[in-house]
């Protein structure tokens, strides 16, 4: 049988009120106190005498303290009280950790975003590089084109000079019977003795053959040079200088030309 008086006399309740028992012992005392009113009564006696001793000789706290407490006591029960405990005990530490946590997350996001931007810019850069390469190629091409045009223009200007020279005579060499469509113009400057030639229409020479220009001075044929065909098919082609001529003719000769023209192979002829 549990002896209440002995239990009270043991002094365990004094330790209980002083908070000197373990959690397990506290629970046991609480159980017994709810079971035996004498134990509960004894506990309250101890508390009241210790309380009185604690406050003896000490001034009363100002009434404003209670007002402040009631004013600051948050009645929101929806708040999780354990969260409040956590906040109270780890406030300063936690805010630091939180800062680093969010800071880290923020940095990570920045890193990823920056990575994506880099990838995007890299792709962009590559396409721009391609573009530049294309433009460079185009530029080179256009420069070559331009060079060609310049050369052509120079050549045309020179040709024009030759043709516009008042001492120049144009000789129209017309096709003979077997090549009626053939036509070559010869520009002959009597003063300078210079001969130029422009092929208007002439069939391509067969392999191993070449066209040769002849000047006819008093019926005697004089070699006036070989035609470059088809390279110089447009524009004027400078031939050998000729002292005197009344007519010009072109014959098809073996490559390198002949000393005397092969008359059967004459394609065009014209008089001054």
């Amino acid at each position: 049988m549990f002896n209440v008086k002995e239990y009270i006399d043991s002094g365990i309740l004094e330790l209980y009120v002083a908070g000197l028992l373990t959690e397990e012992e506290n629970k046991k005392v609480d159980e017994l106190a709810s079971q035996y009113p004498e134990i509960n009564f004894e506990i309250e006696k101890i508390i009241s005498s210790v309380s009185e001793f604690a406050s003896a000789g000490v001034p009363d706290p100002s009434p404003s303290v209670l007002n402040n407490i009631l004013k600051n006591a948050d009645t929101d029960t929806s708040k999780n009280n354990e969260n409040i405990v956590l906040n109270v005990s780890t406030n300063s530490v936690n805010s630091g950790k939180g800062f680093y946590k969010y800071g880290f997350a923020f940095c990570l996001v920045l890193f990823i975003v920056s990575g994506l931007i880099n990838l995007f810019l890299w792709n962009d850069l590559n396409s721009v590089k391609d573009e530049v390469e294309k433009l460079n190629a185009e530029k080179t091409f256009m420069a070559q084109d331009n060079e060609l045009l310049k050369k052509t223009l120079n050549k045309k200007n020179l040709d024009l000079d030759v043709m516009m020279n008042p001492s120049t005579v144009m000789v129209d060499l017309k096709g003979v019977e077997k090549s009626p469509n053939s036509n070559v113009k010869v520009f002959y400057n009597k003063n300078d003795k210079l001969v130029y030639l422009e092929v208007k229409d002439l069939p391509a020479p067969p392999k191993g053959k070449q066209y040769q220009l002849w000047a006819l001075d008093n019926g005697k044929p004089i070699d006036a040079g070989m035609l470059n065909y088809p390279e110089n098919i447009t524009g004027l082609q400078k031939m050998k200088p000729i002292e005197n001529a009344q007519a010009f003719a072109i014959t098809l000769e073996p490559e390198g030309g002949s000393v005397n023209p092969t008359l059967e192979q004459m394609v065009v002829i014209g008089n001054l």
Partner: protein, 192 residues
């Protein structure tokens, strides 16, 4: 007045506090603020500072009531423990050390901290001298260590150089003497 509501048991009071009823908080304050304030004041020896801590103690109880259960002992014991911890924390802060160098020896000093005369009301001082004079010096120190300074049984045994097994009975005797001196024993004697 709302605070005059009586709670049949501590169990009811704790439940009312857990339901965040301000009348319960007011009731708790009316019942325990003097004792808790006394304990804080004995440590800090400043009325203004002790009032700040008193406020903190009750707000802490209010906010943390959901963590309270019977394993922590009585509400009074829990309140005193919180008050001691907050007071000692305050005592250890740099500002306090700078301004109140004398209080530094509190933690190690066993001797009773006499209240400064200008803070104490003469009637209370008279009442106090009644207990103190009649209470045995050793019993006074024992009560001081166990109930006001929060020493453990082991610390008490070391400090007073008594076997740990006798702390319990010595404390019982000291409390009985205190009850006799404060007149609290009267009813109990009649009952017995």
């Amino acid at each position: 007045m709302a605070a005059d509501i009586l709670y049949n048991s501590e169990f009811d009071l704790v439940n009312a506090l857990k339901r965040k009823e301000k009348t319960a908080l007011e009731y708790l304050y009316k019942n325990y603020s003097k004792a808790v304030f006394g304990i804080i004041f004995k440590i800090l020896n400043s009325k203004e500072l002790s009032e700040e801590i008193l406020q903190d103690v009750f707000l802490k109880v209010w906010n943390n009531i959901s963590t309270y259960d019977s394993s922590k002992g009585r509400l009074y014991t829990w309140l005193v423990r919180i008050a001691q911890n907050l007071s000692i924390d305050t005592l250890r802060t740099k500002d306090f050390k700078k301004n109140n160098p004398k209080n530094l020896d509190f933690i190690n000093d066993v001797s009773y901290n006499e209240p400064s005369s200008d803070e104490v009301n003469p009637v209370e001082l008279e009442g106090l001298s009644n207990y103190i004079n009649k209470l045995d010096e050793k019993q006074r120190i024992l009560i001081d260590l166990a109930y006001f300074k929060g020493f453990s049984q082991k610390e008490i045994s070391d400090d007073l150089e008594i076997p740990i097994g006798t702390v319990k009975t010595r404390l019982r005797n000291a409390i009985l003497m205190l009850r006799k001196l404060t007149g609290k024993e009267f009813n109990t004697e009649l009952n017995n």
